[in-house]
Symmetry: D2
Subunit: 137 residues, 4 copies
């Protein structure tokens, strides 16, 4: 199984008055990580959208363990924990060095630009299959 690594640096604007990154920031980082995985698999999401294959987030969750601070270098490790013809679920872990800061997931269904459910397409599901975890948590 492959894991996609995405590197981000915490923006000042992402912190709040508690001094750490606001909990909503993780969703934006997860989005970057997911975008990176798809691109590495040869299917840039931008192109998928142009082809009429959208993958809106329909469900998400996140657990914060340690706060991320301004200018921290964070690595988001991404894998896939569910891969169906019309749905996909990504799992993310945010690391600062050896320290796990947070873990989360997003679930997506594939729709057309008119919001009608459709198949993701074998070209994409096969291309991203290497990042699939064997055992779904």
């Amino acid at each position: 199984m492959r894991t996609h690594a995405c590197h981000i640096n915490v923006r000042y604007a992402e912190t709040d008055r508690m001094g750490v990154a606001h909990h909503s920031s993780y969703l934006l980082w997860f989005e970057l990580a997911r975008t990176g995985l798809l691109k590495e698999a040869g299917h840039a999401y931008r192109e998928m959208e142009a082809e009429g294959r959208l993958l809106p987030v329909i469900e998400y969750g996140c657990r914060m363990i340690v706060g991320a601070e301004y200018d921290d270098d964070i690595r988001i490790d991404t894998t896939i924990t569910e891969l169906r013809s019309r749905a996909v679920r990504f799992r993310y872990r945010a690391w600062r060095g050896e320290e796990l800061l947070a873990e989360g997931w997003t679930r997506h269904v594939c729709v057309t630009t008119d919001n009608t459910p459709r198949r993701i397409g074998d070209d994409v599901t096969e291309a991203i299959a290497p990042w699939r975890e064997e055992a779904v948590r």
Copy 2:
């Protein structure tokens, strides 16, 4: 049981190129809703912070059902589904009229400004108890 109603209007900046509110926006609306419930209970979060009682989000989840559009009037209904001496869990439902757009939750633990766990305090837990749901989902 009481339900706190918070009214928001979807900002242009909250939409993304799919034309609907970005999925992270719900967390910001939930934050407003939670702030409103605490204020209605007589314990503005701003004052709680000044007293050294912080309630950071340690876990959250959200399920999107229908997209919220720019300038939509949304009502966030908030209740409490867990109320302990050191932790609290809020439940949110986002409505556009009679239509349920999304539902989510956040879990919080109480800490000092030094991030040490502490009790929320009976004054607050008693004040917010009326918004507690009987049956936790």
Copy 3:
């Protein structure tokens, strides 16, 4: 001359680790204020977009005087300082009670959905004219 008043409450997520609202937040508040003025004038921006009359921001500026804090009630006063057939400039002042926190402006040109310049239309320019300041600063 009329002045449009828009009331906002500073969100927790809008603060940064300096403890005050991030300087970019003002642009989001100005957007709400502008949206409110257009709506009060009978031309909701949402409808203008549906009619193919977009008003993208092409230039903006802001000067911060005093920081806005979490949960502050802010009033944004909006007027118009330039009103042409194809362009409009709004001026904003952010107040916390009697205290001026910031002032800014945005300039917009009217375009079609294909990004081609077009006239705003007399119906809109006449409707918003009452908010126009006599002397442009």
Copy 4:
């Protein structure tokens, strides 16, 4: 004169329903660019804050020329157009390849953590002087 180059990739969440990056996004990118310049000069802003030398934005402006789209690779070129003992002004240009998308600026004054004006310090002003433009626009 040196120019600092900062590379960013437009996030999905940064776009709005017009399909391009929201005009407030530039301020976040400028912040990353400024952070990068300071770090390259040997004075990470994170450390400056720890030393009690804050550089809040007190004024800013931006002019948008062409819209930035999702997943675009943007380069922000940063220089300094004013460098005083207590204030500094940065100038930014956002490029997509050879195409200028936007240009903007931010002005900062140096304050202590108690918000009292103070000198930036010769160590920092000398370190960032190589990025200063000769002719201020």
